[in-house]
Amino acid sequence: MPKIKAGVIVFPGTNCDRDTYYALKQTMGCEVDSVWYETKTLRKYQLIVIPGGFSYGDYLRAGALARFSPVMEALREYTEKKGLILGICNGFQILLEAMMLPGAMQRNDTLKFICKDVQVRVERNDTPFTLLYKKGDRIQIPIAHAQGNYYGSEQTLASLEKQNQIVFRYCDESGNTTEQSNPNGSLHNIAGLCNSETTILAMMPHPERASDSTLGNDEGRKIFLSIKKALS
């Protein structure tokens, strides 16, 4: 079986690209390229990851300036061919700004950057990104962002719920999606969304930081292993 080929997009200001690269290699054993933001085609990949960081310094709005990079054109073309896309943190913000997923990110309601472990509940396991989890699984995973407060209009939220596009929600230790367990004010405790075809997953928590037992937490590892299984 040929090795899976993955690309990790690097914008000016991206800073989780090396972490993500390492995690993909370690967990999926796939071939990984760093993909410079000026790249014009992504056809050779089966998985594209838009990693975390501060593309263009997060100036104006997180993700707003990255959205106009040449690679985003290539990404649109790539989605038409149903390639998988994983957007993590800044990647989520970029996908929203690019309108590849509905809604927008506001500043955390604490008005501060938050870096800590949170609990999220897996809402569905019929996506290529979550198939090794059980529905309702609770995983501990770090967040690190200043703008992760998801907003969608009422119609948007209704449609996300109806089409079952919410993949992860912030929850407490017992798996309940309470206000207390919501770190940033996200509506409906949204921590991760997919598109209706489930080829795109965007999430604020960082699975690449929870994929290695040396770091004390590998509960996010199954996201990469799920992708591997889905692509094999």
Binding site: A104, N108, D109, L111, Y151
Partner: protein
Amino acid sequence: MLAKIFIKPKKGILDPQGKAVSGALARLGFNRIQDVRIGKYIEIKFDAGDTDTAQSDVRSMCETLLVNKVIEDFTFEIAEE
């Protein structure tokens, strides 16, 4: 030309920063505050043939880049400096 652009959170959207500032003002003794909304103020100096072109340029800058219409509203003014 000089464009002054005013961006604010859409009506109905919770503005956590505005809320925090409103509370802080109250603690400072400004106790008749009803509402605070915080957005962005952008000044752009640029060349444009005439005011009409300038108008349409600025509108398109706002709509493509400067404003996220899911959460923000904007207005602007143009002056000839």
